[in-house]
């Protein structure tokens, strides 16, 4: 699958992020392996260090297998001072995992993200691209049970 995606893009450093996004979104567990990083760097003529730098910078990308739903909680200061701690604690208890982990049933992955641009609605989190703001433990419980119910 990676080879087909690579072929669509010009062999230039500028294609890197688009390739990573398209490929990762098509993979069931939405992560990128070392072998794939090597393959992409080889195709684009950039070093693996360069690809690693980009993959590790953007929280969109992961080098660890992820669950069906990716919950990303904002790591930045406004969310911190507005009670992210309790929100995170609630999430960890509900899902029975720690930040950075995936549930045993592979339904949820809990990870940090950099600022979501919703500081006015801090604390904020994002699930599969959808943003949730003004969070508190009760609101988080409702959101998670909704995701559980849907599945």
């Amino acid at each position: 699958m990676l080879e087909e995606i690579l072929k669509k893009y010009p062999q230039h450093e500028d294609s890197l992020i688009e390739i990573l996004l398209e490929y990762q979104n098509k993979k069931t567990k939405r992560f990128i392996t070392e072998e794939e990083i090597a393959q992409i760097s080889n195709y684009l003529g950039v070093t693996e260090s360069k690809v690693c730098s980009v993959v590790s910078f953007y929280t969109f990308f992961s080098t660890e297998p992820r669950g069906k739903h990716i919950i990303q909680i904002c790591k930045d200061v406004p969310c911190y001072v507005n009670g992210r701690g309790n929100v995170l604690k609630t999430l960890e208890q509900l899902l029975n995992i720690r930040i950075g982990e995936t549930t045993k049933d592979e339904k949820f992955t809990l990870e940090y993200t950099s600022c979501l641009g919703n500081c006015d609605g801090a604390p904020a989190m994002r699930i599969d691209g959808k943003t949730f703001t003004n969070l508190n433990p009760n609101k988080v419980k409702a959101i998670i049970s909704e995701y559980r119910g849907v599945n």
């Binding site: 070093t47 693996e48 260090s49 360069k50 690693c52 730098s53 590790s56 910078f57 950099s114």
Partner: protein, 572 residues
């Protein structure tokens, strides 16, 4: 032109000038850390922060161009406070054990903390000690001292085109490292050491071998000899507080004698020998339809690049060992025999402008007995400076002393090996006289000199017009290597040096090497050449005697055994 005020002084500069450069025109010093002359503007560190009247936030002077009517304050309490905070934050994540650091008293962060008057840090240390990378023979990486300025990443990626070092992760978790935190020796690192040259702290340094050398010098059973590379005599002065471009050859020899070396020899001698061997190799390749273009082999960083990235070009590389290794091989055979010394008791040190030379000396091919290194220890110019200071030598007061015989009689051609284009020029002086069988009218090949990235020349060899080219820095080398790989290279002979400016800009040279400093060292290098009595390698009488007495003729069987080598494709 744009009119601005800096600290109430009127300044007029060209449009597009940065605040930092505008301030320099009036001798107003704005401190910098990630900024480095000739490299990209990064504005990572924020130390050059200044205040502009009417603007809410502080801006970085290195990256902000001036605008008409701008009123800038470079030292307001607000600016000073911001700089202090930034520095304190850096120090809170820095192994600031200054007295146990190679760069104590020579560290840009330390100087900054000192000038800002930081006497205590308001922030608690958040440093988590990481493992050091000491896995290779050339360069040590200490992540605990890294301040993440990004200079090393810039030089590795943009100047050298290698891009082994990168910034990983983001925000306060950002680190500078090869991929997956690997060792440099696991990567396609050429050990050029340009990263160590621009590091403002001691996060990347050469692997220190001064202790090994002190111990050898102290060992009565050892006969310790030293060779000094051409580029060191025009840069060591800077380590001793002299201005760039100072020529300190005789004082350097005197200092080495005081350090206790039994004989002080000149790598210029084996540079001359390289020219005879390599020149004859080129003539033979041209005559017999051998692989062309022939590419020079004296630079170990370049050899690493070819072995790692251009294995198809291995046969294009001259089989000649570098001058350092020719010296080592001759020392352990010819010299040892002549002096009646058991090679086991002979300790060969070289002083090089280079960190990759440490790697080269440790290569398994570089051993005439198959067990011990021909060159036992390699010190950079900086390490020699350190030893001279450790010894308490008053460098300026030293008497002038000449190199020892026999490897001290050299030509100007050997001397210019230190500058980009020098090997080419030295080779052309010999090859054209040998082929054309008449003396050159003009010895100076100016078109191959200077800091332009790729230089070309055309020479007449026995009625045949031959094109040659010179590249310095690995990104430029890659341009020429790609042409050879594609079969589009119009050249017969190519000189490649890994470092910008050639060895005078080597990774082991004194800190603060900029293009302006490189220009001065290059000027000094050609001064050394033009002051020499002999300026062509084939007119060096000791070289000719060496062939008569020992090697017999260029490219002889013995020459091949001692002075030539081979290369191999390798990963990392």
């Amino acid at each position: 032109m744009v009119n601005i005020k800096i600290n109430n002084t009127d300044v007029t500069v060209e449009e597009g000038t940065t605040i930092l450069d505008a301030a320099k025109t009036k001798n107003i010093k704005i401190p910098t850390l990630c900024y480095y002359p000739d490299l990209d503007i990064k504005s990572d560190c924020r130390i050059c922060t200044v205040e502009i009247a009417g603007e809410k936030g502080l801006v970085t002077a290195c990256s902000t161009p001036v605008r008409e009517g701008m009123e800038i304050k470079t030292n307001s309490p607000r600016v000073l406070n911001a700089r202090k905070t930034i520095t304190e934050l850096m120090l809170a994540n820095h192994d600031a054990n200054c007295t146990a650091c190679e760069k104590n008293m020579n560290c840009e962060l330390q100087t900054l903390a000192n000038t800002l008057g930081i006497d205590e840090n308001r922030f608690e240390s958040v440093l988590e000690m990481q493992e050091l990378d000491t896995a290779n023979t050339s360069i040590t990486r200490n992540p605990n001292r890294c301040i993440k300025c990004g200079r090393c990443v810039d030089v590795c990626k943009n100047v050298q085109g290698i891009n082994v070092l990168e910034s990983m992760n983001r925000s306060h978790e950002m680190v500078i490292s090869p991929k997956y935190g690997k060792y440099l020796s696991d990567e396609d690192c050429t050990f050029c050491g340009q990263c160590s040259s621009v590091c403002p702290v001691a996060s990347i340094t050469e692997k220190d071998e001064t202790d090994i050398v002190w111990n050898a010098l102290d060992d009565d059973k050892k006969h310790v000899i030293v060779q000094v590379a051409p580029a060191v005599r025009v840069s060591l002065g800077e380590e001793m507080g002299q201005k760039p471009g100072s020529i300190v050859t005789e004082k350097m020899v005197a200092a080495l004698k005081q350090l206790g070396f039994d004989r002080v020899f000149d790598t210029d001698f084996t540079a001359d020998l390289t020219i005879i061997e390599e020149g004859n190799e080129l003539i033979e390749r041209i005559k017999t339809g051998g692989k062309l273009p022939m590419m020079t082999s004296c630079c170990p960083g370049w050899i690493s690049l070819v072995e790692q990235k251009y294995p198809d070009l291995i046969d294009n590389i001259s089989s000649c060992k570098s001058p350092q290794q020719m010296f080592g091989a001759l020392a352990k055979t010819y010299y040892a025999k002549k002096q009646n010394i058991d090679p086991k008791d002979l300790f060969v040190v070289s002083i090089m402008p280079c960190t990759a030379k440490k790697y080269e000396a440790a290569r398994e091919e570089m051993s005439v007995d198959g067990k011990n290194q021909d060159v036992d220890a390699v010190l950079t110019t900086r390490e020699l400076g350190k030893m001279v200071r450790q010894m308490g030598i008053n460098f300026d007061q030293l008497d002038k002393v000449e190199f020892d015989d026999p490897f001290g009689i050299t030509s100007g051609a050997g001397a210019i090996f230190g500058a980009t284009g020098g090997v080419m020029e030295a080779a052309l002086r010999t090859v054209s006289e040998v082929v054309n069988e008449k003396p050159l009218e003009k010895l100076d090949f100016e078109t191959v000199r200077g800091l332009e990235g790729i230089k070309e020349a055309e020479v007449d060899l026995g009625g045949q017009k031959v094109k040659v080219a010179v590249a310095h820095s690995l990104s430029k080398a890659k341009t020429l290597a790609d042409q050879v790989k594609d079969g589009t290279s119009p050249y017969a002979f190519i000189e490649v040096m890994t470092c910008p400016g050639g060895c005078i800009g080597g990774g082991g040279q004194p800190y603060n090497t900029t293009n302006a400093v490189r220009e001065e060292r290059i000027r000094a290098t050609y001064q050394v050449d033009s002051d020499m009595k002999i300026r062509k390698s084939h007119e060096n009488p000791v070289i000719n005697k060496l062939y008569d007495d020992y090697l017999k003729k260029p490219l002889s069987d013995l020459s091949h055994d001692l002075l030539h080598t081979h290369y191999r494709k390798r990963n990392a």
